[in-house]
Symmetry: C4
Subunit: 202 residues, 4 copies
């Protein structure tokens, strides 16, 4: 199984693309008892949930893209670790729908904790996937030990951060959700800076 | 990140293909209280909405195809600007369903304005995407300044035209919708002529 | 636009794959008022409709595959004629659901006629697509005039045959449906023989 | 039709990716009559069904991947045998939903038998696909007679094992389901060992 991971990329891209597009199916046409405008406005939790989940799946797709550029070959454990990660990504539309249905209600606390908790599981899967890639010896030759340590640290910190925001969400739902959003913005900025540095001549 | 945008194309194609295919899920099997034929005929707003949204997503796919032929490389801002555009495209099935549910009812005005308004946001995203491509220096070497100005002008005019049709839709829903259709026909014809000129020897 | 139709193929494949997979969403978990086995058995019209539409979309995908092997380049009219064909394919899940809901009821006649009628429109789109390919001069150099005439005749005959089965369906629903099935079997056999002949040395 | 099966791979990957992602649509937002946590917990049959079907489709994708590495060319019978297999895979979300709706109810027996029975049909399709590949002479030259016998035996044993677990499921649903899970674990381990042996120098 020394082939390159092209078909894994294609399959993963398919799953990412479908999961991100299915999110819209959770937004249903509103009833018009109080006028369509009011109905559309009352759907704000659905829009928020759609936007958050779209952005986070997009971030993960970009991250998956970056990760697979480090990979040179496939193995059974890699295929299944990648599958496990995809499982958590195809699961996203469900907690998103739960969030959309309960934001602004007394059950928001449970919904947000469930939503944030899903990312803890997802973050663990990223760690498992990277550990599997390293253990199977699938890294490109030109990936430095420094780069490996960098990815490992990033994935580990992400897991801890998600865990904290999940605990916070249980006591203060809105704050927990905002912490997640802050995490994603930090992640985008860090990746961006890393990409810029990688391009600068040394 | 000097690689070519092949995987971005594949991911975007996936999102376009899924969004365009999900549209059909909004057309539900009719009740047969007054006969199935009458039920099928009464679904005309769904057929109109399906047809409009299918054609517009197809046009956008063709346009995305043309745009990415100008692009030679990827960058973080480009990936996220493209993601933002895809967000507005995966959103299309929702206003389409709202339109289908309210064409021919007193709420048509709101539904059509919402539908047209979505394209204003979408048009803004095309502008942002192109500006990001230019600013990141991702254009092919052989793209002339004239071609850049042409795309910029087309995207800018499109945004203004969608804005006007949205305002018109608020006062005259049917007229607003017809203006959108006219816009799409004009766009197809202009692109076609541009493509023909590009092929003629000078 | 002298590039080859790879991205058109990828986009079309995506639409075919999604349309064929969405068919299953129309089969809903049955109520268990009279036991789950009876509920599952009572869904036979859904299974028949699923099976028919799956096979016909598969046949069309194979046919699209064969057709695009003749094509060497793209043009605007080709992109839109192909889009028109895809429109009729993404539409398939709807008449399929209508068929599933009304087979074995007094409305079967309408449902089957609607289902068969859809294939008349679809067949017309294949004719339009092929005519567009020929008119845009996109055929491979090694495609003989004989092969062109063969495709044209096949598409034309198909349209007539679908039209007849639609008319028959209006008077005898079951017979109309069986004629469609017979058509598909004939089509598979003819293509198979053509493929075998093409491989034999002359 | 001596071309290589790239487009068949791409189409199949699309169907696998969509079928695996559609599974989540069967998990619906729970009612909150007894609190959202209780609602989420009461969905355990849906989570079990989702997890099982995700893993089995993933296993089948990996298997399809391995199988097509043996194939060098396409033929009509191959395209249709592959399509038949895909039909059973796009069907998976339905028995999954039936399972999710009836685990832990008196109808579990029927639901589990239906679920397991589907894999008997699926296993038969793998046998048909492989027999078609062999008969059409599409195997790579370097595939040994030993490897062919190995695949044939594996597919045949799988069919028998599924048949047994289906019969068991009728008398003891939980046991039948656990037998399926055991089958999948055995399959993963065997494939893994086979892959390792294939890489060792002889």
């Amino acid at each position: 199984m020394a082939e390159n991971p092209t078909r894994v990329e294609a399959f993963s891209d398919g799953v990412f693309a479908i999961a991100i597009t299915l999110l819209i199916l959770e937004i249903r046409v509103p009833h018009v008892d109080h006028g369509l405008w009011n109905g559309l406005l009352a759907l704000w939790p659905s829009y928020v949930a759609f936007l958050l989940s779209f952005v986070v799946i997009l971030i993960m797709w970009v991250n998956h893209h970056e990760l697979l550029r480090m990979v040179d070959g496939i193995s059974y454990p890699f295929l299944f670790a990648n599958g496990l990660l995809l499982l958590t990504i195809t699961f996203v539309p469900f907690p998103t729908a739960v969030l959309a249905a309960h934001l602004g209600t007394p059950e928001a606390r449970t919904a947000v904790t469930f939503y944030c908790g899903m990312f803890v599981v997802n973050a663990l899967c990223w760690n498992v996937l990277f550990a599997t890639i390293v253990r199977s010896g699938l890294l490109h030759r030109d990936v430095t030990a420094e780069a490996v340590a960098g990815v490992r640290k990033a994935y580990y910190s992400g897991t801890v951060a998600y865990l904290i925001s999940t605990i916070v969400a249980w006591f203060r739902p809105t704050l927990g959700l905002l912490m997640n959003v802050a995490l994603w913005i930090v992640w985008i900025r860090l990746s961006y800076r890393a990409a810029q540095q990688a391009e600068q001549p040394t």
